[in-house]
C-alpha cells in the first residue's frame, strides 16, 4: 500500500557521501518527496531524512540499497505514521494595507512565530506535520506571500510500540 515512508540515515557528514546517497536516489528513479540533512548527535555524522511516497517494499528496497553506500552507518525505514515527522517553514509575507492584525491572528492560530519584521514584510516561522504546514500556507494565501522556504521532513521513529520496525541487518531481510 502506498503511503508516506520515512528513511532515516546516519552517514558520514561529508559532501562526497551525501552525493553518493543522492546519486543513488536519482539513479534508481525513486519517488522522493523531500530530503533533509543536518548534523546528528554523533560528531562527524549527519542525519539524512528522506520522505518518499511509496509502498513499504519500495521503501525497504531503497533502504537496502542506501545501506550499501560506503559511509552510510545506519539505516532505518518506517511508515510516517509510526514515527514523528516534522518540518519547518519560513514564510515572507506582506500583510497588505491595514491587515497586519489579521495576519497576526492567523500566525497565532498556527503557533507561528514572528521572527523578522520590516516595513515591507514580515517573516513567519511555523513547524509541524506536512499537513499542518500546508494548511498554514493555505491560510496565508489571502495575504501576499513573497517567499517560502521549507525544510522538508525530519523524522524519528517512535521509541516503543512501533509495529513495523525495520532496522537493517542482514538476517531480517
Amino acid at each position: 500500500m502506498t503511503g508516506s515512508q520515512a528513511i532515516s540515515i546516519l552517514l558520514d557528514h561529508k559532501l562526497v557521501t551525501l552525493n553518493r546517497a543522492f546519486g543513488l536516489l536519482r539513479r534508481r528513479n525513486l519517488p522522493i518527496k523531500s530530503i533533509a540533512v543536518g548534523p546528528s548527535a554523533s560528531p562527524g555524522l549527519a542525519r539524512l531524512t528522506i520522505m518518499m511516497q511509496a509502498d513499504q517494499a519500495t521503501a525497504d528496497r531503497t533502504a537496502r540499497q542506501l545501506d550499501k553506500v560506503v559511509g552510510v552507518r545506519e539505516v532505518a525505514v518506517f511508515p510516517a505514521r509510526d514515527g514523528v515527522v516534522r518540518e519547518l517553514a519560513l514564510v515572507k509575507v506582506r500583510p497588505g494595507e491595514g491587515r497586519y492584525a489579521e495576519l497576526l491572528d492567523v500566525a497565532l492560530l498556527y503557533k507561528a512565530g514572528l521572527v523578522d519584521e520590516s516595513p515591507e514584510a514580515v517573516i513567519l516561522e511555523v513547524s509541524g506535520s506536512e499537513a499542518f504546514v500546508l494548511s498554514f500556507l493555505r491560510a496565508l494565501e489571502r495575504f501576499e506571500v513573497l517567499e517560502v522556504a521549507r525544510s522538508g521532513g525530519v523524522a524519528l521513529e517512535r521509541a516503543q510500540g512501533a509495529a513495523s520496525q525495520f532496522t537493517l541487518t542482514s538476517e531480517t531481510v
Binding site: 562526497v16 552525493n19 560506503v70 541487518t169 542482514s170
Partner: protein, 567 residues
C-alpha cells in the same frame, strides 16, 4: 619498520604488501611519479596495454579467473575516462577490480587544468566505491581499503584517484601486518536467531513439498565457490539445474540434472520448465530482465526462494517467498542438512517432453555449432573461453559443454563489445597453464584488436577466434525480426585478419569450410604464443530460440520469421 617513502613508492609497496603482483596500465602526465617508482619494485609486473579500456577489461578478466583483485592504472583525464567502460562492465558483473588513476595536483583541482576530469563524479554510479586521496598520510590506508572493499561481500570495482603532488609527497610508511580484510566482513549468513533458522526451515519445507521445483544458478555460485554445495542440493532433491549466462560452468553440463540456459536465448524446454515450475530456488543471481522476460508473466506458478549475498537484490525484480541473504556456499551448507532426500523424476520426465531436437538453422557447412563442437573435441574441453557480446556469445554459451568450474567468462550485465580480447589477456595471466580462447564476432574484435600488440610484447599466448559473418549479427537479427529487415548500419567490413595477425607477428588462419576447423584449432594451439583463427560463417545465421524483448518466456520465436510481403 617505518621508512620514509614518496606517495608513489607507497602505492607500489601497498600493492605488493596486499598480494598484488600484476597491474595493467598506461602511463601519462599525472601518473608519472608512480611510473617513476615502479622499476624499483621488480616483483610488481606491469603490462602495458594499448588503450586504457583494455587495462580495465584485462584486470576484470584476471579478477574473474583468479578470484583476486585485478588492478589497472591510468593517468588523469582521458586515461581515466577510457577506463569507464571497463569499470561499468566490472560493476554490472560484480568483479573485484581496483583502478588507480593519476589526478592533477591538488592546487589545480577545480581549475579545469590540463587533463583534469572529475573521475570521482564520473565513476560514482559505476563503482562500488571511489575516493580522491587528499593527503599522502592517508594514501596507504585508502589503497588498502580499496582492495578490501573490492573483494568484500558482493565484489565490485573501486577507484582510487591520486593527485600528482600526493604521489610526490614524502611520508612515513609502515607495512601492514596482514592483508587488509574486508572492512565490514563478508556478511555472515547465520547470525543466531530464530528468524534465520525459521527461514531456512521454511525454504527446506518448500523444497520438500514442491511438485515441480527448479534450481536457477547464477554468478554467485562461481564467486562463492559453491560448486559442490550446488551439486549436493541438486542430487539430494533431484531438482533440475538451470544456469544463467554468468552461472554457466557453475554446474557440469554433462550432469543428468543440468537443464541449460534460461531467458531471451534460452532453450525452449528450459523456459517452459520455468513457466511450469511451482518452486524456483535462485542461487546467486539477480533475476535480470534477460533472464525473466516480462516479469509479470515470469514463472507464474512458482514461489521463489532467493539465496543471495546482496540484500538489495532480494525482491528487487521478482517477489520472493523466502530470501536467504548470505554467501551462497555458507547458506547452502546450512540448508542442505534440512532438505529431505527426494527425487523429481516425474517432473524431469515432464520437462524431457518439452525438449525438442535442435534444428540446424545454418546454411553452409561451417556452422557455429560445428566450430564449437570441434573446439571442444580438440581441446578435450580443457580450456577457458572468454566470449565477447552478440550472436557468437549466445552460441558459445549454449553450444560448448562446460564441465569445469569457472571456465566461461563473458560480459553479461553490461554487454560490452570488445571485452573478450583484453579480458582474455587477464584470464591467461591468471591461469598460466590453461589454454585461453578469446572468441569474438567481427564487430567486437575490431573494437579492441589493438591488444594483439600487448599480447606480443608481453608474451601472453591468448588464442583468438573470430566468428566473421560480415554483420553486427545480433543487431542485424533484431532488425530482421523486429525492424522490417532494414539492415541499418549493420553490414561491417573487416580487414584481412590473417594479414593483420601477420603484421603483428602472430600466425593466423582463415577457415571457411568445416573440414578445416580442427586443423586450424590444432595449429593455433601448437604455437607457443598468441594465434588467431578467423571463421567465415553464414552471413544471416540467427540465434534461436529468441524471446522478443518485453515478452514472456512463453512466447519464443523458434525459427526464421516469414519473409516480409511487400506492401
Amino acid at each position: 619498520m617505518t621508512e620514509t617513502l614518496t606517495g608513489a613508492q607507497v602505492m607500489c609497496r601497498v600493492l605488493l604488501e596486499q598480494g598484488v603482483d600484476l597491474i595493467f596500465g598506461y602511463p601519462g602526465g599525472a601518473i608519472m611519479p608512480f611510473y617513476h617508482a615502479l622499476p624499483e619494485y621488480a616483483a610488481l609486473r606491469h603490462v602495458l596495454v594499448r588503450h586504457e579500456q583494455a587495462a580495465a577489461h584485462a584486470a576484470d578478466g584476471y579478477a574473474r579467473a583468479s578470484g583476486r583483485p585485478g588492478v589497472c592504472v591510468a593517468t588523469s583525464g582521458p586515461g581515466a575516462t577510457n577506463l569507464v567502460t571497463g569499470l561499468a562492465t566490472a560493476h554490472m558483473d560484480s568483479a573485484p577490480v581496483v583502478a588507480i588513476t593519476g589526478q592533477v595536483s591538488r592546487n589545480m583541482i577545480g581549475r579545469d587544468a590540463f587533463q583534469e576530469t572529475d573521475i570521482i563524479g564520473i565513476t560514482q554510479p559505476i563503482t562500488k566505491h571511489n575516493v580522491l586521496v587528499g593527503d599522502v598520510s592517508e594514501l596507504a590506508d585508502r589503497l588498502r581499503e580499496a582492495l578490501a572493499i573490492a573483494q568484500e561481500g558482493r565484489p565490485g570495482p573501486v577507484l582510487v584517484d591520486v593527485p600528482k603532488d600526493v604521489q610526490n609527497q614524502k611520508t612515513s610508511y609502515t607495512a601492514a601486518a596482514s592483508r587488509a580484510r574486508p572492512v565490514t566482513g563478508t556478511p555472515a549468513p547465520a547470525p543466531a536467531g530464530n528468524g534465520w533458522a525459521s527461514e531456512l526451515g521454511r525454504a527446506a519445507r518448500l523444497i520438500g513439498e514442491a511438485q515441480r521445483p527448479l534450481i536457477m544458478a547464477g554468478h554467485g555460485v562461481l564467486l562463492a565457490d559453491a560448486y559442490d554445495e550446488l551439486r549436493c542440493l541438486a542430487e539430494r532433491t533431484g531438482m533440475p539445474v538451470i544456469t544463467t549466462l554468468l552461472g554457466i560452468s557453475g554446474f557440469p553440463e554433462s550432469h543428468p540434472l543440468h537443464l541449460g540456459m534460461p531467458g531471451m536465448h534460452g532453450e525452449v524446454h528450459v523456459n517452459r520448465a520455468i513457466q511450469q515450475a511451482d518452486l524456483i530456488v535462485g542461487v546467486g543471481l539477480r533475476f535480470d530482465d534477460r533472464v525473466t522476460g516480462n516479469t509479470a508473466a515470469f514463472a507464474p506458478r512458482a514461489q521463489l526462494i532467493h539465496i543471495e549475498l546482496d540484500p538489495s537484490e532480494v525482491g528487487k525484480n521478482v517477489p520472493t517467498a523466502v530470501g536467504l541473504v548470505g554467501d551462497c556456499r555458507q547458506v547452502l551448507r546450512q540448508l542442505l542438512p534440512l532438505v529431505r532426500r527426494r527425487d523429481c523424476s516425474a517432473w524431469r520426465a515432464e520437462i524431457a517432453g518439452f525438449a525438442k531436437t535442435r534444428t540446424e538453422h545454418y546454411r553452409g557447412d561451417l556452422s557455429p555449432e560445428g566450430i564449437l563442437r570441434t573446439l571442444h573435441e580438440v581441446t578435450d574441453g580443457r580450456c577457458t573461453i572468454v566470449s565477447d557480446v552478440g550472436q557468437h556469445q549466445m552460441w558459445v554459451a549454449k553450444l560448448f559443454p562446460y564441465e569445469r568450474p569457472n571456465t566461461h567468462i563473458t560480459s553479461g550485465g553490461l554487454g560490452t563489445m570488445g571485452f573478450a580480447v583484453p579480458a582474455a589477456m587477464g584470464v591467461r595471466l591468471a591461469r598460466p597453464d590453461e589454454p585461453v580462447w578469446a572468441i569474438s564476432g567481427d564487430g567486437g574484435f575490431q573494437m579492441n584488436m589493438q591488444e594483439i600488440a600487448t599480447m606480443v610484447q608481453e608474451r601472453i599466448p591468448v588464442k583468438m577466434a573470430i566468428f566473421n559473418n560480415g554483420y553486427l549479427g545480433m543487431v542485424r537479427q533484431w532488425q530482421q525480426f523486429f525492424h522490417g529487415r532494414r539492415y541499418s548500419a549493420t553490414p561491417i567490413w573487416s580487414p584481412d585478419y590473417v594479414k593483420l595477425a601477420e603484421a603483428y607477428g602472430v600466425p593466423g588462419w582463415r577457415v571457411a569450410e568445416a573440414g578445416h576447423t580442427a586443423d586450424a584449432v590444432r595449429a593455433a594451439m601448437s604455437v607457443p604464443g598468441p594465434a588467431l583463427v578467423e571463421f567465415v560463417i553464414e552471413q544471416e545465421a540467427n540465434v534461436f530460440p529468441m524471446i522478443p524483448p518485453g515478452a514472456s518466456l512463453s512466447e519464443p520465436i523458434e525459427g526464421e520469421p516469414a519473409p516480409l510481403v511487400p506492401a
